[in-house]
């Protein structure tokens, strides 16, 4: 599944006339996820950067991604199929957000 998403991302980047995939960063700080990117599209990369003092995760409720974020680290996820993906922190479930992935 991850390979497929990656392949799709590469294909979109190389497709004639297709726009290059973009990269967006979501900063985690003070027990909150920062703003999610407004123009996120399938194939774009989301970088989760944990600036907080606590270990967090960015975990999709639909199981499409689950990244561990020790303090001071970053991890990337390539946006898959269009749609909305709710996410949360497994350690602090009150921390939530929603990614809106456009085509």
């Amino acid at each position: 599944m991850r390979v497929l998403v990656l392949a799709l991302a590469i294909a979109l980047q190389l497709a004639p006339g297709g726009s290059a995939a973009a990269e967006y960063t979501i900063v985690v700080s003070a027990m909150k996820f920062g703003p999610v990117p407004a123009g996120l599209r399938a194939g774009d990369t989301v970088v989760w950067r944990n600036d907080d003092m606590f270990r967090h995760t960015a975990t999709a409720r639909d199981g499409s991604f689950d990244v561990d974020l020790p303090p001071g680290t970053s991890a990337s996820v390539v946006a898959g199929e269009p749609g909305s993906i709710e996410f949360f922190c497994k350690f602090h479930p009150g921390m939530t957000g929603t990614l809106m992935v456009g085509p």
Binding site: A30, F54, R55, P71, P93
Partner: protein, 172 residues
């Protein structure tokens, strides 16, 4: 005004202290109370990690130890930067005495009986700390960085309280 004073007094009393109920605590005292509360919860967590066999209780205790250590490390760094020395006070002393008694009480328990008692105490402890933070310590904090750290702490400890409350319904 009377109501807010009463809430503040109850909050401090909930933490086991009386001496600060009539006075506004200083930043040095607030820092000491918050740091002490964190250290005591770490001690409770370490006891749980030694005694419990319940995976959910162990995961909770690991989270408590990790998160409270992170807050206290940040607090120490901040106090060092500000040149503030935490000041011992009757509330901190009562907190420590109560926690020592609870550690001793829980040390006599094993298995599910320990798990139930540990989690129940975590609920009570976080309720008291969160009430005190929200009604006394955060409003009284003068330094903006200390206040911000306490606000983040309250967000974190509210998560812990909800986690403990949920766990309390699972552990039998």
């Amino acid at each position: 005004m009377i109501k807010s004073t009463l809430v503040a007094m109850l909050a401090v009393l909930a933490l086991g202290g009386a001496a600060l109920a009539h006075d506004v605590p200083t930043d040095a005292q607030i820092a000491h109370i918050a740091y002490t509360a964190g250290q005591l919860d770490i001690a409770e967590a370490e006891q749980a990690l030694q005694k419990s066999k319940n995976p959910d209780v162990i995961a909770f205790a690991e989270l408590m130890a990790r998160d409270h250590k992170a807050v206290n490390d940040e607090a120490l760094a901040l106090l060092g930067k500000l040149g503030v020395t935490p000041e011992d006070n009757p509330t901190s002393q009562k907190l420590a005495a109560d926690a020592a008694a609870k550690l001793k009480e829980l040390s006599a328990l094993d298995g599910p009986a320990f798990d139930v008692a540990y989690v129940a105490n975590e609920v009570t402890f976080h309720q008291a700390v969160n009430l005190a933070l929200g009604t006394v310590l955060i409003p009284a904090a003068q330094n903006a960085d200390l206040k911000a750290l306490l606000v983040t702490g309250l967000t974190l400890f509210t998560e812990h309280q909800q986690h403990a409350e949920h766990l309390a319904t699972q552990v039998k």
